[in-house]
Symmetry: C2
Subunit: 472 residues, 2 copies
């Protein structure tokens, strides 16, 4: 099956043993007022923050308040063959939680309690709906910290972070979600509850299903709880380094030089000229010089100051104009520019945000490829990049709700370039609906089929997020 | 199905469409002199370092020198329904690579090349048969390091470390194998080759099958290559702290106090009095005081000296007699005592090495349980412990090749105590044959069945390491 065939394949039709009114009646009988069919709620459940939406509206939004609510919903869905899309805060960027006609939107956003914090064991047990930033605030009171910090952390849930295998700004130094989850409680398609993983630092009993669930985008079960691996807050100074470069390629070469120097910054973010202009406009800052690209870095821990000075020297040698700040507030102000990237893109039009990740040494070559695609296709691709881990977010901007064919073609060109450079389709956003057409190109047909069979072990009747990630 | 039922269930009989001479003839026709039927090789393939062996001898040992050799072997095994047990250096401690009658021992020990080292991308691509310590030596020349360091690192292979999800001494600070592998090349039961994972820091394309393979103990495929996530060698001093305590419980409380203090040592090892005596005898050192237990710790990185002093203060407050050394050679000498633990146990008799792991705060309670089991059953259970991550190795010593029923009963008591304390059956050694009877007790029947179904997706005819981990 070619990628084109997959593009033409319609989404898997749900098995239906029951009529829609029956499903609603069953849900209401079990869950009462947690079943929400208000037009505003149904409309909101169609979309995430990718700017893309399902063609139709779901049957209902179920606002689960407990594991039992989730199990009841899944038992009804299983019995009636009704598809279920699990949703947190709806901040995904690949359409993975978009819910369409005939489907139940199962929201776990209301399950937002912290059940346990253990400073002595460096773990916390949480419900999936808690916001990443709210968890961070609660943990800080104990001197603790859950490292994954997607740019969306103020508005995205921990459950969503786990379901997408979210990344963030600190990954090169402090790891990705996979490194920070010890266990997951999972409700299966038929409503049974499994406890995956462990509470200890080490544990190799059986297959590592916790890791399998991380990044599975709602295709294996509903995450109803998580045991998180915590860190202690890093003591000492935080230094922020801002460096501007005459063009993006020079900035990319400079970032690769930092990585090659052996000093590990906590954060190293790159913004190209289009991004920088858009953010400066959004924040009402003075416009940057034409073509100017920016690197923003932070160092932390006991060697923060020494490392910041060493990095500044590398960046100057690479042609940068460099300023170092030891002030935390100033550092936050500089990083706010980076965190405003997504809202700034939204001001320009509808965006298709790509998420390719390449080995760090290939970063300059990847920016060359982006420049080539811009030239070849006469389009602008504003790009921001987690330069410390080689993860780029090139943004394709267009008018209207649907991705035009020429934008899909440009995205295809971009993805194939990343693959040629040893990279991957998605570093942290997931496949969802927006990237599913390329999944088999990266995995190969054999692995694609094997993965699909694994999802069928968890979900034999195909009711969990059908049409996402794997399209038959 | 109860644990007792599982204990009585015989190992799964291999499907056989062909006679033994046919299988050998097919292997020889494809692989020539790589097919080894010498009595010494067949005998060696029956056992690992657990001290336990399969009842019979395998059909043959195939010494694979390439991915193509592995694929050829698996195609023949698949066509003839012959079970295959993958082996590295045979240093496992759970019997996972023990090969018995009617089975092919597929050794990848000869595939020991380093294919690529990328300091700029902090990755290496290796074949599975390279010894962990040999890889370490080669990487050190680049200023690099693969963090997983099982106590067996001088004699165990990287492929075996991945297949068992091996741990080691440095896990609390520097992570386990799962944290240090980006991708795995896997030959499936039918001989097809899959490339799992990625070369970039981030990557969430599809399900995380790399993590699923880590710790799968030869049940999902044959690991023929790995892309490893490296660290830079940690610069600066290494400080070693040795502390003795009047009894093991005081030492355990002291180690929990170090963890709770928020200082993260690189290594924190605990040895009880029986272990310490046995190792001192093996190394011809003066005998320790009766009942004396020992903690050995190391700190590293830019704050090593400050942290060592702070840890020493915590240990003294907890009743320890403490010595701090800033000399690397002296530190290595102190750690050599810990690394001699397994050889020392071998001098006492046959050992059944347990591997329970508990949340770090539960360490003193777990030592209380071990003392209770020793009292109740009038046995000695020499115990060494990776105290930094709550992973204990209680050793049951007995005469002769087979575990006596009363030792199985004591091990059962121990495991159930660990589970009550929020722990797990195996922190780093794996299930193999020695712990399979308890697997469903920890996972629950539903998860056990789900995991078994996942193995069937990879290995539909059940030829990969049958009878290990999952017993039907």
């Amino acid at each position: 099956m070619s990628a084109d065939d997959r593009m033409r394949t319609p989404e898997r039709a749900p098995r239906r043993d029951t009529t829609v009114p029956d499903v609603l009646a069953l849900l209401r009988a079990e869950l009462g007022e947690r079943v929400d069919v208000s037009p505003a709620s149904l409309e909101a459940a169609r979309a995430d923050k990718s700017g893309h939406a399902s063609p139709g509206r779901p049957l209902a939004v179920v606002h689960a308040a407990s594991v039992a609510d989730v199990q009841a919903t899944m038992r009804i869905a299983h019995a009636t063959g009704t598809p279920v899309v699990t949703r947190g805060a709806g901040t995904g960027l690949a359409g993975g939680a978009n819910t369409g006609a005939g489907e139940i939107a199962l929201s776990v956003r209301g399950m937002d309690r912290i059940l346990e914090v253990r400073p002595d064991d460096l773990l916390a047990v949480v419900e999936p709906g808690i916001l990443n930033a709210d968890l961070g605030d609660a943990l800080a009171a104990h001197g603790l910290w859950w490292a994954p910090d997607p740019a969306s952390r103020a508005i995205s849930t921990v459950g969503g972070n786990i379901a997408t295998g979210a990344g963030g700004l600190l990954c090169a130094k402090y790891g990705v979600v996979r490194d920070a989850v010890l266990g997951v409680d999972l409700v299966l398609a038929d409503g049974r509850l499994l406890h995956l993983g462990h509470r200890s630092v080490k544990g190799v009993t059986g297959l590592d299903l916790t890791s399998l669930v991380i990044g599975s985008e709602g295709t294996l079960g509903v995450i109803v709880g998580a045991t998180l691996k915590l860190r202690r807050l890093v003591p000492g100074a935080v230094c922020t380094i801002a460096a501007t470069f005459p063009d993006v390629r020079t900035a990319a070469v400079a970032s690769a030089a930092v990585t090659a120097s052996g000093i590990q910054p906590a954060i190293m973010e790159l913004m190209d000229a289009s991004c920088l202009s858009a953010v400066h406009a959004l924040l009402a800052l003075a416009p940057p010089a034409p073509g100017q690209a920016q690197l923003t870095l932070q160092t932390d821990g006991p060697a923060a100051i020494v490392e910041a000075d060493a990095i500044a020297a590398v960046l100057r040698d690479a042609g940068g104009t460099v300023a170092v700040s030891h002030d935390r507030a100033e550092g936050e102000r500089l990083l706010a520019i980076r965190r405003s990237m997504h809202p700034a893109m939204e001001t320009l039009g509808t965006t298709l945000i790509e998420d390719v990740s390449v080995p760090r040494s290939a970063l300059p070559a990847m920016f060359d490829e982006i420049a080539r695609i811009e030239r070849d296709r006469s389009i602008s691709i504003p790009t921001v990049c987690h330069a410390g881990d080689g993860n780029l977010h090139p943004n394709f901007i267009f008018d209207g709700p649907d991705v035009p064919p020429e934008i899909w073609d440009a995205a295809d060109d971009l993805f194939r370039a990343a693959l040629r450079l040893g990279g991957t389709l998605t570093g942290e956003h997931g496949i969802g609906v927006l990237k599913r057409r390329w999944l088999a190109d990266e995995l190969g047909e054999d692995q694609w089929e094997l993965q699909r069979q694994i999802t069928a072990v968890f979900d034999p009747t195909g009711i969990l997020n059908p049409g996402k990630v794997f399209t038959p």
